[in-house]
């Protein structure tokens, strides 16, 4: 087994990407994800890869599109306002079916907001601001180890589905340090292997095949509709195959929390605090945010009195929680914003309020 190392989240994510065979990175500085950009600038060349510091996030996502359309394994990362600038690119990547992995390390918004952590980009990640019918596959790990283990899988899913995959963490996971076991390196694909593995890629025809065209433009409405229906089949398949969710203590629960990412960890401590007071709380931790694990909510027993969505936002995931609950339970929000992390006592207090227990 590989050795445990103490690493900052951002650096561990970058190293995990390299070990997953990623050799191309395009980025623009923005806090709190700069360690990823810096790490890639130092390390990629050592592995025969390339790094470009782009002039903007708009350029970065388009460089990434070019690199991935040319058959490269590409990682891109940014934080909230930067991810906002990339939305047009995400729509293009989905419509042209170009695989790559996006690492979103979110901070508090709106506007410039703050560099402190936030989870107010749930809509941005799962609904997106690009045009048209498209979806990113979005995964939200809650520890550095989980994120690192997810990286190679994210590249595989992107490649299998030919669709971008987003790993959505917040500044807490990006900036904190934890011991982590790094995955074994996967060799990178290069040269002729690229055209064998990705026959759709722009590698030059070499006079041996018809030219490859990567496009999203269809002038005939029927052709475009057929294209979108094709894409939708892929998304329907993803809804069956890519749902990932962890649950704890639902059976005995009086109250059920729903939380993702670093907030799920803080919520776990709130569960312990409530247990000390004799209140049983359960936890649903969606790992895939798109597709969202709606069906898991059917496992919540009827005896549960309240469901609480815990988020560092004014309530975004709560919409999906309500869909999952199908009106069976009252759903409320427990959250802090502005870059402030919610604390276990605050979450426990919100639970007691929802249960009508005097604090």
């Amino acid at each position: 087994m590989n050795e445990k190392v103490l690493m900052k989240g951002n650096e561990a994510f970058a190293e995990a990407a390299i070990r997953s065979g990623c050799r191309y990175y395009f980025g623009y500085p923005i806090t709190p994800q700069n360690e990823i950009t810096e790490y890639m600038s130092r390390e990629l060349a050592k592995h025969g890869g390339s790094f470009v510091q782009a002039e903007s996030e708009i350029a970065a996502i388009n460089m990434a599109y070019g690199g991935a359309a040319a058959g490269g394994k590409v990682l891109i990362s940014s934080s909230s306002p930067g991810i906002a600038l990339m939305q047009e690119g995400f729509s293009f990547l989905c419509s042209t079916e170009i695989p790559l992995v996006i690492l979103s390390v979110s901070r508090g918004g709106p506007g410039v907001g703050t560099i402190q952590p936030g989870q107010a980009d749930y809509y941005q990640s799962t609904r997106g601001g690009g045009n048209g019918d498209y979806h990113l596959f979005v995964f939200a790990p809650s520890s550095i180890q989980e994120a690192v283990d997810m990286m190679a899988r994210a590249f595989d899913i992107a490649e299998e589905y030919r669709n971008p995959v987003m790993i959505y963490v917040d500044g807490v996971l990006g900036q904190m340090m934890e011991p982590v076991v790094l995955p074994k390196p996967i060799p990178a694909v290069s040269g002729d292997e690229i055209s064998k593995l990705r026959p759709w890629a722009m590698t030059g025809t070499d006079g041996k095949r018809e030219h490859n065209v990567i496009k999203s433009l269809y002038l005939k409405p029927e052709e475009l509709e057929a294209r979108i229906l094709d894409m939708d089949q892929k998304y329907q398949k993803a809804k069956k195959e890519l749902v990932l969710c962890k649950t704890e203590g639902l059976e005995e629960a009086e109250v059920v929390f729903v939380a993702y990412g670093s907030t799920a960890r803080i919520t776990e401590e709130a569960v312990d605090l409530l247990a000390e007071e004799g209140i049983q709380a359960g936890l649903i931790r969606p790992v895939s945010l798109w597709p969202f694990p709606y069906d898991v909510f059917d496992q919540i027993p009827d005896t549960v009195k309240a469901v609480i969505s815990v988020e560092l936002s004014m309530g975004q995931m709560i919409d999906d929680v309500k869909i999952g609950c199908k009106g069976r339970f009252p759903v409320s929000l427990s959250g802090r914003v502005g870059g402030i992390l919610i604390t276990p006592p605050e979450i426990a207090a919100d639970a007691k309020k929802a249960l009508g227990v005097r604090a």
Partner: protein
Amino acid sequence: MATHKLIIAGFGGQGVMLIGQMIAYAGMLEGKEVTWMPAYGPEMRGGTANCTVVISDRKISSPIVTEATAVVAMNLPSLHKFEKLVKPGGLLFINSSLIHEDADRDDVEVCRIDANEIAVRLQNDKVSNMVILGAVVSKTGVVKMGSIEKVMDKLFTGNKVKTLPLNKKALTAWEA
């Protein structure tokens, strides 16, 4: 072992992030679960800097600390901000070189360490953080001093190797 939850705070450049990382690293070498989390600010130098370190035998869920087993205040704003978070019976380390006020708390054990003065006596003001680190490790027992020395051996390499004896000496200087 109980779970240790530390808050280490000062101004940027005092090396508070580093000593937090060293404790986390030492904990990992001892096979414990650890987390280190910075409160990162937009100011790079001279602003407030603080980190939280959690060390436990059990899986750590929350990396944030609302009740600290120990707080280290390297400057006055840090004392004002974090003193209230020490849990009753916990430890409050005060860098008395820079903090001349007394603590408000009487339900915690207060350790005043003249860190900068002691560091100057060791001929290098920069090791004031190591002086405090030595005190924190000894008084809390969060990790073994030997583990901290191992971490130093791993961190201070290359050009920094010549600073190793001074840094190790600083670890016990608070007792004198």
